[in-house]
Symmetry: C2
Subunit: 455 residues, 2 copies
């Protein structure tokens, strides 16, 4: 019998993370010291991260084993279901087969615990007692709160002020898991005070929040820092999503023509796409992997590939990436998790090499897609996830025109139970679209050129 | 391998509802006409319900088949997982085995779609184009909105004013599924105007909201009414929960010593407990079935068994039940789904006959239990579910003292993603307990005696 939901047993959960570095034809350029611009060594990262994560960051081993304590905590919600979007297909009248991997079943409702759990674990193993981090929409902050609470680590979260105001209940959820939550930019750090000095009413951004969280870790020997996306080890932890999806699709007899995911810093996309890119790179498969970003923050489709800071203030290493500039503050959209100026290093290199593609979607189109998805499939998606859904719907309509029975897989990275304020605005006709003009992008990129002169 | 989560295949989903009426040693007394006090016939209920549901309401058949269209929509989220609360057990250091059936995976996050879907379906089959209903915490309203949207039926929801104010996002979710939502008591009905005339700042209650919704259906030939608990057919639809749990427990080799569920009108409790009571009644098993209500609305533990109206204004039939009186307005607690003055007819009869038991728990104890559950198991429970969890924890601690390895099953009827305002109050130390005094209960019951004189 063909079923709507495809489950794996807990015993079929992946036992290793997949590291795409092993298979990339062109390895990424190295991160550089923010001041000297010299390639970084592990010792440069040691004030921020435990050694095991630094090793993973630079590893070229294809598979890295998942510790048993991490697997045990994963089993609270993993393996996650793969679901055939039969009701959506029917509503669209498309011959396309649409599957989604549903990560919203995790404790905090998104894919973020997949990396929060190992990050908290490795820190714990090396004796770390306190972490700092940033959060945009709050999904990462909630995930790390849950993981830190489990492993007995204190956590301080710098939450982008816009989201802090839009999503008060995300803060309560972090408090429930014992974390301290601070609206960013704050007066607690030099970085925050610098931003507030320039822009007292700043809505904040992920770049600013990272500066604050990193600063606290740099200045306190006993505190380390944790990042929810962008970095290689973070992307790698998420590959359990795609590995599970691959096994689950095998059970259906289908294989995807395309894999689609929202794009913020890269962990969402990498998580579902990298295990399929592995097949492209090693077995000659041709799965089209599409990263979808908001038109308000189009670094992949309109940004520039060059070295830039991962944070606004310029405290963290220079990374080779597609970027709109570290001091670009994206317009205030509801998909807070996608309001980041740059793209992860690995994903940037893959895009540069033409191995993946990217698109951008307007906010209103995203919410229209999310509404249709909720009304058919019954799950109210997170605004970030709506970027993937809008693209899936466009592809399914294209398949209807051409009559091609394409198989599409996408990452439903989380539910929208904490985003009803955004849906309320959409229903009330009060949602504003932000499409950056060419002039705005040109200005941002020129400003970036001026601010970082490479030696 | 023993797993934490026990799944059934979609093919193993129950195909029939279980009707405990077939097995009850004493059948319930009949419902009576609210004015004549004569036993009701099907024709008396026809203005409110489609004939198929009226038949189910009075049926004594043991099993009633679930229509294929209903099963198809169930497959969006069913079968739901049974989960072993290993992390909670560890935190408590108890020898007890704790299992929970997790109904929060449904489209609207609670067990309510289990009956919303068949109710919408049977109405659709009989040509009904519009329904009215009441909702407390909003879980029932959301579930019926989803089901009506699927089957193309318009819906008007009277939402208890207290919840309407406390949980604005529940309203948005209903709007997302196309429903119209009205704060009750409202000025749209005679019932609402009557209450507002007496108590202009009334926080509302389920009893009042029922009066309003029923009035609209009574006065409009094309509109029928739908109820989310209390009635026999509603309780019966929920028995798919316990039937699934029974199969899943068989897979583990365990059998419950006790089954615990929150109690509002009875559907939550009936859903998980009735299939086990079936074994008690027909196979000599001795599963202890415990219904848990708030101390602020203790109809099972301190109410009186007698005929009373199901609504505040006295428009619906007189039902033989444990009640605090139809005009009793429960204190404003966060478990809005449990703020109902009476208990379903079948459950009342079972309690009277000593076949089940009941307890009450204070609000603060419930939230403390919910916090511990979230921190260990990773799921933030609905305030209603916390009543079951508090009782489970008390039993697990008792098992620790006695050393008995009891097996406990409970219904985790929903998540608390829309209840973070309540958790915020708890975390801030601002949650107030409401325990009714004996004098308050005596007054309520005397008032009931005066208001309904049985002929």
């Amino acid at each position: 019998m063909k079923t709507k939901k495809i489950y794996l047993n807990e015993g079929e959960m992946p036992t290793h993370y997949y590291n795409i570095m092993a298979d990339m034809p062109n390895k990424p350029l190295p991160p550089l010291h923010p001041v000297t611009q010299q390639p970084l060594g592990p010792e440069d990262l040691a004030p921020l991260f435990p050694m095991e994560l630094i090793k993973q960051e630079v590893s070229t081993e294809r598979y890295i084993e998942i510790p048993e304590a991490v697997q045990e905590l994963y089993r609270i919600y993993r393996p996650t279901p793969l679901i055939r979007a039969t009701a959506l297909e029917k509503a669209l009248g498309t011959p396309a087969k649409i599957y989604y991997k549903y990560e919203g079943v995790s404790p905090t409702g998104s894919h973020k615990p997949n990396t929060a759990i190992p990050q908290a674990y490795y820190n714990k193993m090396e004796g770390v007692t306190k972490l700092t981090t940033e959060t945009g929409a709050g999904q990462w902050g909630c995930a790390l709160s849950f993981a830190c609470q489990h492993f007995g680590i204190d956590l301080q979260v710098y939450m982008v002020k816009l989201s802090y105001q839009q999503k008060p209940y995300r803060k309560v959820l972090m408090n429930t898991f014992g974390a301290e939550v601070i609206a960013s930019p704050s007066n607690l750090t030099d970085s925050g005070r610098q931003i507030l000095g320039q822009t007292p009413d700043s809505p904040g951004s992920l770049g600013i929040a990272i500066s604050e969280a990193v600063e606290v870790a740099m200045k306190n020997e006993n505190i380390k820092y944790s990042l929810g996306s962008v970095l290689n080890h973070v992307l790698m932890h998420q590959t359990i999503i795609g590995q599970e999806a691959l096994k689950q699709l095998e059970m259906t007899g289908d294989f995807p023509d395309m894999v689609i995911a929202p794009f913020g810093g890269g962990s969402n996309f990498a998580g579902i796409a990298f295990p399929f890119l592995h097949l492209n790179l090693t077995q000659g498969k041709k799965v089209e992997c599409i990263a979808v970003e908001p038109t308000s923050c189009p670094k992949l489709t309109k940004g520039k590939f060059r070295y830039d800071y991962g944070d606004t203030v310029g405290m963290v290493p220079l990374l080779p990436m597609y970027t709109l500039g570290h001091d670009f503050v994206p317009p205030s959209i509801h998909a807070g998790g996608l309001r980041y100026h740059g793209a992860g290093v690995i994903v940037s290199q893959l895009l540069k090499d033409g191995l993946i593609s990217a698109r951008s979607v307007k906010q209103s189109e995203c919410f229209a897609a999310g509404m249709l998805f909720a009304q058919t499939e019954g799950i109210l998606p997170a605004p970030e996830a709506n970027h993937a859904i809008a693209t899936v719907i466009a592809e399914a309509k294209k398949a209807k025109e051409t009559g091609e029975a394409k198989t599409i897989l996408f990452n439903l990275c989380g539910h929208g139970h904490f985003d009803l304020h955004a849906y309320e605005q959409y229903l009330g006709g009060n949602l504003v679209d932000h499409e950056l003009t060419d002039a705005e992008i040109e200005y941002a990129l020129e400003s970036l050129e001026k601010s970082i002169q490479m030696k």
